[in-house]
């Protein structure tokens, strides 16, 4: 269904309503938007949100979808996670002001490259490498795998500043039934963690917690630009093929 849509993307803006939200961390908020119609999406895809001011000024931002769409009595529910960027134009509004019942325009699903679905890849294992809020589209892949009862072996290496910055902490630290085969390794850059002293991601982390290059895993790397460049460089140095590494960066404005 979605592959046809990806082949012929006719995207229009839809009006969505915020139906639920909760803090994921002190600076990130999960938003559940409801749209009357939704064509479905693949894990890793994103949506654009458009805000329009009273004077007609509009601005758009891209946000990754955090989970498969869920059917609801009034349509479909889409989950996003917005990280507040202190001097941002859009994210402080979405995390601090945007309230249940408020409306926003949504365009999507978008992106046909940084995506995973159980049918693709011929059973190759998957390595997810997340920096900060780059976890969001990768979480969508973990959830898609669970939703589909897929058995593809997954490993997730998740780099973040401190424990308090971790998104989806409950879900990742205590995986639910059906998550057999998803191994998660969290490393902290600003504080020691039980398995590792503080520091940026290294080749040793990816060698110990990723897959050997001989297994030809499909690697998905998402995070801030500097993190993605470094993690991709490390994967190449460990012998992974450039064709198996897909990256998604977000710039200084954040996702």
């Amino acid at each position: 269904m979605t592959s046809e849509l990806l082949g012929r993307t006719v995207l229009s803006w839809r009006v969505a309503e915020l139906v639920e939200s909760w803090p994921e961390t002190a600076s990130a908020r999960a938003l559940v938007l409801e749209v009357p119609e939704w064509p479905g999406h693949r894990a890793g895809q994103h949506v654009d949100l458009r805000l329009t001011g009273p004077d007609g000024y509009t601005t758009e931002r891209s946000y990754s979808l955090a989970s498969p769409a869920e059917r609801s009595p009034d349509g479909w529910r889409l989950q996003l996670v917005v990280q507040r960027v202190a001097d941002g134009e859009v994210s402080p509004y979405l995390t601090d002001v945007f309230a249940a019942g408020n409306l926003i325009e949504v365009r999507g699903p978008i992106g046909g490259w940084f995506v995973w679905s159980p049918r693709e890849g011929g059973g190759a294992p998957v390595l997810l490498v997340a920096g900060g809020s780059g976890i969001v589209p990768l979480m969508s892949m973990v959830r898609e795998r669970r939703f589909r009862h897929d058995r593809t072996p997954f490993r997730l290496v998740y780099s973040l500043r401190t424990r308090a910055d971790q998104l989806f902490a409950d879900e990742l630290n205590r995986p639910g039934s059906g998550d057999g085969g998803v191994e998660t390794f969290v490393l902290h850059t600003r504080e020691d963690s039980p398995r590792r002293p503080a520091g940026r991601i290294t080749a040793a982390d990816l060698a110990a917690w990723g897959w050997p290059a001989d297994f030809a895993p499909r690697c998905f790397v998402c995070g801030p630009t500097g993190f993605v460049e470094e993690a991709a460089r490390l994967l190449l140095s460990l012998g992974h093929s450039p064709d198996d590494i897909k990256t998604e960066r977000f710039g200084p404005s954040g996702p």
Binding site: I110, G111, G112, W113, T247, R249, S253
Partner: protein, 90 residues
């Protein structure tokens, strides 16, 4: 932020939305070839600068400009002179 720093860009994954107004097919699923250095790779991996009037897309290999997309009240302008080739597997 007014200065252009080395990491001041996003990647081609963000092009899907803006270019859906122009192309029927998903630009992020295409491969493109740079007219300057010949690099042929996924459009999802290009460097995208949005802190400008419009969207500027640069080659990840040589940093030359591949695409410029500007939306004004009068219409939409696309300069694709930096790309020699775009292809989609359908």
């Amino acid at each position: 932020m007014s200065t252009l720093q080395g990491n001041d860009f996003e990647d081609g994954n963000v092009l899907g939305g803006p270019f859906a107004e122009i192309f029927v097919h998903d630009l992020t699923a295409a491969t493109g070839q740079c007219r300057f250095c010949g690099l042929d790779g996924p459009m999802a991996a290009v460097h995208v600068y949005t802190r400008a009037p419009g969207v500027v897309v640069r080659c990840p290999g040589c940093q030359e400009v591949l695409l410029r997309l500007v939306s004004t009240p009068r219409g939409l302008e696309l300069d694709a002179s930096g790309l020699s080739h775009l292809s989609w597997k359908l």
